[in-house]
Amino acid sequence: MILDCLVTPFTANAFLLNALLAGILVSVACGIVGTFVVLRGLAFIGDALAHGVLPGVAIAMLLGLPGMLGAAAGALGMIFGIGFITRRSNLSPDTAIGLLFVGMLALGVAIVSRSHAFSGDLVRILFGEILGIRPSELALQLAATLVIAVLARVCYRPFLLLCFSPEQAEVSGFPPRRYHAIMLGMIALTVVVSFRTVGTLLVFGMLLAPAASAALFSRKITTMVLSASGIGAFSVYTGLLASYHFDIAAGAAITLAASLIFFILLTARQLLPAAGAAGRTK
């Protein structure tokens, strides 16, 4: 009976199983990248990247190219644009990010709204189509997740220093600018390969919510990465179940689950002071 509720939906429906697998892969990538996003305070640029890919996707679809290619171009454009504005003006990166964020989003909506090719697809770019995962996309998602994991392992020390003492990084022979760029590249890669699954709007939730939840009680970065990935995967599972049993839009259900878990953990930490004592990430 319980099995019927919790497992059978996935064994009886290939589309749900594919959604779960893709979601778990997204969760692992987002758990790794999200940890650094949370620790280094890159939430805003993550958000901006997630939305900034929209015109890239729109143009790629107009030209009949794969949407992922357009997303990658959009993300690269964002990163270089932010760098360009901060270098050429006295404006803070925040302003540069904000400018490009709204500019790119508006450009994307403008293109979509006047194009005959894909009216109605805006919703699917923003919220993804997790119930329509192709088996071939799982392989791509797996490859991207592996690349992200390997990069994070190789750059573990510089990333750590970058998060907690950027001056120390410079001294230790890790140029902060280079590793900052690699970090941004990892965020971009996550957004680009995940937008098919959960969409550009919701991938940001998967990047932030599980990592923030993990930060509440993790002491070590490794713990944080592992628990963020685990929490993300659990959110995907419960979200899909909710979509199945309560007839809710799948992408939204997943992100909602991830956000709810954060608030539950936050409340639990307030109520259980013993757990709270451990709540400083180091």
């Binding site: 939906p9 429906n13 290939a14 589309f15 749900l16 594919n18 959604a19 709204s113 006047r114 005959h116 009216s119 109605g120 919703v123 699917r124 919220f127 189509e129 119930l131 329509g132 995962i133 192709r134 098919r196 899909l240 979509s243 199945y244 049993h245 309560f246 007839d247 809710i248 839009a249 799948a250 992408g251 939204a252 259900a253």
Partner: protein
Amino acid sequence: MTTRSRILAAALGLTVLLGCGRDRAPAAGGKKTIVATYSILAAAVQDLAGDAFTVRSAIPNGLDVHEWEPSARDIEALTHADLIVENGLGLEGGMGKALDQARQAGVGFFTAGDHITVRRVAAGEGIPSGDPDQAAGARDPHLWTDPLAVKAVVDALAVDLGRRFGVDLSARAADLDARLTALDAEIRARAAALPAGRRQLVTGHESLGYFAQRYGFKLVGAVIPGMTTEAEGSAANLESLKRLIRQTRVSVVFTELGTPPRTVEALARESGVRAVPLATHNLPPGGDYFAFERGLSATILDALK
């Protein structure tokens, strides 16, 4: 101002000026302008009005009728129209505000939905969903898939135009009536040749209710169970659809503009159904209402054969 920025400013000004001259055709010869909200309705109105009026479609042919939102110029065109012909059954979701504005500006309205027997969603029809427009009793706006409903609309419009503008369109209306009746008979004969067990429809959204009702088809379900394309699919819905497809042995899913393509792909992989694109809300290139309805029925009947 540096020279460079002067040149830039001049170039910008010129672009704006050139842009203004673009496609702003004045109402030719003082003819009255009728704006129909979407292309298929406009095509039917055009068939009736002939040269007596300038007929335009507010929503360009090829765009999603349920989702389209007007630009500033589109709103201007609406408020300057002599008559707006709308569907009126909740079809033009994104246009609500613009149509209200036109109404306030005193533009005359003709509402197609007022002149037909409105189809209401029957209890137990399709896939149950929380969508209020799919609840039993909800009004179905997709009246143009039934030629006889279109006939009722153009008949009423002929009378309305006569009263409003003093134009006698009775001869054209009678001619159009005859053609629509013939079209109905033609589709009816072809549909009757299809065994009843095959007259079952799975569509992108619930768009073929009037067609199904007229020609004895059963509505099995839709990828997005609702009257519009705007909703996002849930796992529950996709699973029910899969089960329904298995139970009813349906082999074809008709996909429309706005149908989530990958979700249909997943459904096709799992249930062995074939996805057939169907133009339900748009005219074929250069075609009129008759070309649309013939194309629609031919695609459906050929796929289900």
